[in-house]
């Protein structure tokens, strides 16, 4: 198993972002997390990526307890996270943002020299080639379009080469055609390199088209966890239903 969540919950002060929830993701699986705003998608992805620690319960990444994996090289080899806000350094050229994925493997001197004369440039080139913006190598990241920056962030993950990729709303800021392109790219990479992929999305159509399994979150609880083909319109309607009573009825029925 790539990820195992065992009765994991997360609260920020008095706000419960995630109620106790258990989930297992196999190696090589592609999983989409869907749900309305504030459902807890980012929170769930941050737990999988080792970005935050759970308030209760246990997170296991590749068989290792998350508590034993502080941010650093070991965690970086297991999971790479693409945040909703990308978190690139806008002042650096694209090539340096891409090669930042190698910092865990580099000594300090090498990282310093690389800022002047980029090291392992062939890795950066190959990654940028794969995401389709090879010509932007030396462009300042701040000057790239939102979609191009998304690709730079993805190229950084390719260079980091973790066993699993966790992507928070990777297509939120893209037009529909580019969103499909990027998902194709992302799932293609996962398939070709045998990487596990967990991504949150707002579009159920895209989730069904590109992912094998879909998890629905609603107000911090697991609404459904099904193979993509088994997700029906009824599931979707219930997930996005604005009427809060539907939720209470559902929990009452489950008892």
């Amino acid at each position: 198993m790539m990820f195992v969540l065992d009765a994991v919950s997360k609260a920020y002060g008095s706000t419960v972002a995630l109620h106790p929830l258990s989930l297992a993701v196999a190696r090589g699986e592609t999983l989409a997390v869907v749900g309305p705003s504030g459902a807890g998608k980012t929170t769930l992805l941050h737990l999988l990526g080792g970005v935050t620690q759970p308030s209760a319960g246990a997170v296991w990444i590749a068989g290792r307890p998350l508590a034993s994996l502080p941010p650093g090289r070991e965690l970086a080899r297991l999971v790479g996270v693409m945040h909703q806000q990308l978190d690139l350094v806008p002042h650096l050229a694209a090539v340096h943002n891409v090669l930042a994925g190698r910092l865990g493997e580099w000594r300090l001197l090498r990282s310093l020299v690389s800022l002047v004369a980029p090291r392992e440039i062939e890795r950066a080139l190959a990654a940028l080639e794969r995401v389709g913006i090879r010509d932007k190598l030396y462009e300042r990241t701040a000057r790239l379009s939102g979609g191009e920056q998304q690709r730079v962030a993805l190229a950084r993950l390719l260079v980091q080469d973790p066993a699993a990729i966790v992507a928070d709303e990777p297509v939120a800021s893209l037009d529909p055609a580019r969103a499909e392109d990027l998902l194709q790219l992302l799932t293609g990479i996962a398939r070709d390199d045998g990487k596990t992929l967990v991504a949150s999305l707002h579009s159920i159509q895209l989730a069904r088209r590109y992912f094998a399994r879909i998890v629905g979150l609603r107000r911090g609880r697991l609404a459904f966890d099904l193979p993509a083909a088994a997700v029906s319109q009824a599931h979707v309607d219930r997930l996005y239903d604005l009427d809060e009573r539907a939720d209470d009825l559902a929990t009452a029925a489950a008892r």
Partner: protein, 274 residues
């Protein structure tokens, strides 16, 4: 429900008639008024003959000294002042940057070691800049004699204190999210400094350094009054002999130096942002 939601009345901050800031304003205003009252207003405010001196000084502005030998002297003095400023700033950056990095707490991981490193370097920076460059100059002239090294150190140390203090603030204030992302890809704090903090702070670091460079030219001119040569020294000689024309030429040189630094700074920043 109405949209947009109406703001609750309690949300609008109400100003209390006399809060801490109000008291401070009153105090400062009072001090200013009092200081005006202590000036002996009257015919003796400008000393006798002062009006004539001012008139001569202003008249000399129209005919600055432009004879080739004096221009050569002014050029040499400008060169010397600029050289002191450059050397002083080099010392200031060489000392201020490492101290600023440590003082920003960017390199320490543990809370305790961070606190120790930050407190120690902040204290050192405060000591460096608490002492004015003129006082440093007296100290170094007493220790080293009238050597250029005395001027350079006198300029470099207090400026290192100011630069380090500002650098620490700028390096500590950059957006955190990209730094977290770098740590998530396995970067050490040193690497986070190189790939996250420095690049994000660089435009501000450069702007501020150039601004201090302008100040350093001013300070270098003043320092030369101590007897170290340069524009300030020549101005003093010109004033002593009432050669106001020379004074204006020297002032023009000083302004030209500052403008040159300003232009250079603009050029560097333009290239950085492009």
């Amino acid at each position: 429900m109405t949209w947009p939601p109406r703001q609750r009345a309690s949300a609008t901050p109400r100003r209390r008639p006399l809060d801490g800031r109000g008291v401070l304003t009153l105090l400062l205003g009072g001090a200013f008024a009092w200081s005006l009252a202590t000036v002996p207003w009257g015919p003796d405010l400008v000393h006798p003959g002062g009006e004539r001196a001012i008139a001569q000084l202003l008249a000399a502005a129209l005919r600055p000294e432009l004879s080739p030998p004096f221009l050569a002297l002014a050029l040499e003095a400008s060169w010397r002042t600029a050289a002191y400023a450059v050397a002083g700033m080099t010392v200031a950056v060489a000392i201020g940057l490492p101290l600023g990095v440590v003082a920003s707490g960017a390199l320490a991981r543990g809370a305790l070691s961070r606190l120790g490193a930050v407190a120690a370097t902040r204290g050192l920076l405060a000591l460096l800049r608490a002492i004015h460059e003129l006082v440093w100059a007296w100290l170094f002239v007493a220790a080293l004699g009238l050597s250029p090294l005395a001027a350079i150190l006198a300029l470099g140390l207090p400026y290192a204190g100011v630069l380090g203090r500002i650098y620490a603030g700028l390096l500590g204030d950059v957006p955190e999210a990209p730094l977290r992302a770098l740590r998530a890809s396995g970067a050490s704090e040193w690497q986070v400094l190189l790939y996250g903090r420095l690049p994000q702070a660089l435009p501000d670091l450069l702007s501020y350094t150039f601004y201090r460079f302008e100040c350093a030219i001013r300070s270098a001119a003043i320092l030369s009054f101590v007897g170290l040569g340069g524009l300030g020294y020549q101005m003093q000689l010109a004033l002593d002999d009432l050669r106001y024309g020379e004074l204006w030429t020297l002032l023009a040189c000083l302004v030209a130096l500052v403008v040159a630094v300003d232009l250079w700074s603009g050029e560097v920043r333009r290239r950085l942002v492009a």
